[in-house]
């Protein structure tokens, strides 16, 4: 027997970054809001205090803050002709779990996408002609523009206290910032973080080569900060235990350090932890969400009715819940019909590890933060002429010193034995003088007809529901793009005086065992045509108008940046549309 709870105005599925933003905005509008979160409540002071937060084995290697695959996982295959098999332990990406979501353990690299990224198909077709694009590439415009999102990017950066140097304020190019970025209405709230030795070397070498290096926008505080909600963050101590870890120092922007302390005090907000939503319920018409069904930690099933449902469970869980709830038409790659699961993408990253003379260079790699970096953007998006190169897309490259944690970061030159005396000697010799950038080459992945998510026919989760199945491979366009970027990146390290530069290109087939990023995108994309998108430009479901779907699942394709700045801007944009348009007239905001 399912037990029914009292009706709420709004139910939010997942209390991560977007869930927290939406909960705050809708509670602020006076609605009665409940958030239902699969994982536990997480608290800076008690869950990861500085005294033991810095435990590489526990958090980085054993993934303690992440979803346990025993709870749920996905199946994976490269090609539609293969049988997908379960991801038994995490590799290529690492799904968050618990209040705060990925915001607890992200790096906090806080980027905006380029204006051209939002009108990608139109832009590339106009510049290069339609025939320049690979035939099976399914990129689309977003239905929203950079200018529309700018105020919302700005809000998120001020919420987070982002540290950075503006490159373009209202059209004026600023010295020391990223000259390629879209115009911003005002500077970052905080100056850039202090840069370690390797960053200043990278900056100098890049400038000598004619590039315009700038500090990566970082959600690690360069100084004490109080955000517009009145929540205070402390200065980052460059502890080097940032991504994969919670910041015990209240220095990294997360829902816990920016929104939740205020949200949780609102009388019209409540949350339920350790409770997993298993379905979005529809009413008898099939065209309205009635609420959600969730299962608590004891296996008890509950129904939470609500007038408005916000799905903010992270990219692939969003897609899975839509499929399991029968909302929207499932994508069929053979017939090229349906929208749920379509245009799934990830990121195209690679490494350049460089070795310097230990007698001359000491980098102290452990003095680091999740998002500290010195980057160039010359090769991102369409910032350069792709005509001669035969591919589209790009990414930023940068020296991003995120950690010197010794299980993960003890690089040795290629050819060194993997164990024994020689290995030990090489580890010792190179630790202080090798550079292994945390992000390195961070490139786009565009969408293709045969890269998608659907439900697995064989493997089930602990509730006996089908796992989501990922079919994904790298295509030639991305392989070419990565080779180009990796070579350019390596030239900069060479110019810094490295004695040996090791290029680790990203190659096909896509490998689910190697960590790349947790920037999964697409699958429930936004757009202006319900035949090719699941959501309209306000992230409202075309099929169920009282359902809004947050997160990078809305990206029609991925750009060469980290997603969260854009994910958060879209959440503010959607919240604004709900507050200013939907509440007055609850129904479809766009007539298709």
């Amino acid at each position: 027997m399912v037990r029914k709870l009292p009706r709420k105005d709004v139910v939010i599925i997942g209390l991560g970054w977007t869930g927290s933003i939406m909960a705050y905005e809708l509670a602020d509008a006076g609605l009665d809001v409940i958030a239902i979160e699969r994982g536990p409540w997480r608290n800076t002071a008690t869950d990861y205090p500085p005294g033991y937060a810095a435990d590489e084995l526990r958090y980085r290697i054993r993934h303690e803050l992440f979803l346990s695959p025993s709870q749920t996982t996905f199946t994976f295959r490269n090609k539609m002709s293969q049988t997908a098999l379960p991801i038994r332990s995490w590799g290529a990406f690492m799904p968050p779990n618990g209040v705060g979501g990925g915001g607890v353990h992200w790096n906090a690299e806080t980027w905006r996408f380029l204006p051209s990224d939002f009108v990608l198909k139109t832009h590339l077709t106009e510049r290069y002609g339609a025939s320049f694009l690979p035939e099976d590439m399914t990129i689309q415009d977003w239905g929203v523009t950079y200018d529309e999102l700018e105020p919302h990017y700005d809000r998120f950066e001020y919420l987070c206290g982002t540290s950075g140097q503006a490159g373009n304020i209202k059209g004026t190019i600023m010295e020391g910032g990223n000259p390629f970025e879209g115009p911003r209405s005002r500077p970052y709230p905080n100056p850039p973080q202090d840069q370690p030795f390797s960053h200043t070397l990278f900056g100098k070498a890049a400038r000598d080569l004619g590039y315009k290096p700038f500090p990566q926008p970082s959600g690690n505080m360069s100084r004490p900060y109080q955000n517009p909600l009145g929540v205070r963050l402390g200065p980052c101590t460059y502890c080097g235990f940032c991504e994969w870890f919670g910041c015990g120092n209240y220095s990294k922007a997360s829902p816990q350090t920016t929104i939740l302390p205020v949200l949780v005090r609102k009388p019209n907000f409540s949350a339920r932890d350790n409770s997993e939503v298993v379905r979005i319920d529809l009413d008898s018409s099939g065209k309205r969400a009635a609420g959600v069904t969730f299962v608590d930690a004891a296996g008890e099933e509950w129904e939470q009715p609500a007038d408005l449902v916000v799905l903010s469970a992270y990219t692939i869980f969003n897609v899975q819940l839509l499929l399991l709830s029968g909302i929207g038409k499932a994508y069929d790659p053979a017939a090229n019909t349906g929208v749920i699961g379509r245009n799934f993408t990830h990121q195209t990253t690679s490494d350049v590890v460089s070795f310097f003379d230990p007698a001359k260079f000491v980098f102290n790699p452990f003095i680091a933060s999740g998002a500290i970096g010195m980057c160039i953007d010359e090769f991102n998006g369409d910032n350069f002429d792709h005509g001669p190169h035969g591919f589209v897309g790009g990414g930023y490259v940068g020296q991003v010193q995120t950690n010197g944690r010794p299980i993960e970061t003890t690089p040795v030159p290629e050819g060194t034995p993997l164990w024994g005396a020689q290995w030990k000697k090489a580890v010792k010799e190179n630790y202080q003088s090798a550079l292994k950038p945390g992000t390195g080459v961070h490139g786009s992945m565009y969408s293709y007809r045969d890269v998608y998510v659907d439900l697995d026919p064989t493997y089930k989760d602990r509730f006996n529901r089908p796992l989501a199945r990922i079919t994904m491979d790298f295509h030639d366009n991305e392989i070419k793009q990565n080779k180009f970027l990796t070579d350019k990146f390596a030239e900069i390290f060479q110019a810094m005086g490295a004695k040996h530069v090791q290029k680790e290109y990203r190659k096909a087939p896509y490998d689910i065992t190697k960590y790349q990023t947790t920037h999964l995108c697409g699958g429930a994309i936004m757009g202006s045509d319900p035949n090719t998108s699941a959501l309209n430009r306000y992230l409202q479901s075309w099929d169920v108008p009282n359902l809004f779907v947050m997160g990078a699942s809305a990206f029609p394709q991925n750009a060469g940046y980290n997603p969260t700045g854009t994910v958060a801007a879209l959440a503010y944009w959607a919240a604004d549309a709900i507050r200013s348009k939907y509440l007055k007239n609850p129904g479809q905001l766009i007539n298709a």
Partner: protein, 295 residues
């Protein structure tokens, strides 16, 4: 009517017990007995000591694998009006103490100590894997959730896939080590005139390991190269992880490379370029010279 603005108070839930600590390297609770041999069968909650409601629900049966064997108690909560807080709810790390082997038999432990000393050999400046405690580290890890694949997806069917699809073995790390060590011993005694791995000279031991690595030695019933890959992952983890987990004894791994451990605040050093950070390492458990041994 859209959006009733009634305010509802917190709904109280019958307390139920569940577990949310997936991933610590600490040993499984003794009551749940997640040993290698006595892993509860799927769906069997019968002999676990969990305080589960007796009424079985649709989802309950398949929940069994998820619930059994995790290590701390938390229940689903309603959060309203304030952030829930309780002092350090189960999340402090546990210190691994020296003592009897917990996973390995005595013979297995001797073989492991020999192996870890070949993977990371001692040299005049730095101890090898054995004195750094790598075998103890692996012993405690195998006894804990890691050894039983407790947090991994372990439902079948099991099919060997492509390399890109990742490991699909039915064996847990605990089973892999048990079988791998037995097979190694069998191989050595049959090829080296009855001598076990520990009785071989270091050069002979290296030679055996190198051949396993290269795929030239195959084991019966267990993937020899897979076993060696596990060693290559686990031994350095024991050498470099925080000493509270039983390896990296006296922070020897960290001292070797100049890693200062969990020193937390480098604001005064970030702008001091190309200067070696001067302070010795600190672990979660502090430093031995802060807590001098009793005389």
């Amino acid at each position: 009517m859209f959006l009733s603005r009634t305010k509802k108070g917190a709904i109280s839930f019958r307390p139920v017990i569940t577990f949310n600590r997936w991933m610590t390297g600490r040993p499984a609770p003794t009551k749940a007995k997640i040993g290698l041999r006595n892993r509860p069968a799927l769906g069997s909650l019968a002999d676990s000591s969990l305080d589960m409601p007796m009424r079985r629900r649709t989802f309950l049966v398949s929940l069994a694998t998820w619930l059994v064997g995790t290590t701390s108690l938390t229940r689903a909560r309603m959060i309203h009006g304030h952030a829930p807080w309780s002092p350090y709810p189960n999340s402090a790390p546990e210190l691994v103490r020296p003592g009897p082997w917990q996973f390995f038999t005595l013979d297995e432990a001797r073989a492991m100590e020999a192996i870890v000393d070949r993977i990371i050999p001692p040299d005049p400046e730095t101890p090898g894997g054995k004195d750094a405690g790598c075998a103890v580290f692996i012993d405690r890890q195998l006894k804990g959730p890691y050894g039983a694949s407790q947090n991994l997806y372990t439902l079948g069917p099991f099919t060997k896939g492509t390399k890109e699809q990742g490991p699909q073995s039915e064996l847990t790390p605990g089973e892999l080590y048990r079988k791998g060590l037995a097979a190694l011993n069998k191989h050595c005694t049959s090829t080296h005139g009855g001598k076990s791995f520990v009785e071989l000279s270091p050069t002979e031991q290296d030679d055996v390991l190198r051949k396993i690595e290269a795929g030239e030695i195959k084991f019966e019933g267990v993937d020899a190269q897979g076993f060696f890959s596990a060693l290559l992952k686990d031994v350095p983890e024991g050498f470099f992880s925080d000493p509270i987990h039983g390896g990296n004894r006296d922070m020897v791994g960290w001292k070797m490379i100049g890693f200062p451990g969990i020193r937390y605040d480098y604001r005064d050093w970030v702008s001091r370029h190309n200067e070696r950070y001067p302070l010795p390492p600190v672990s979660i458990a502090g430093r031995s010279d802060w807590t001098p041994a009793k005389s």
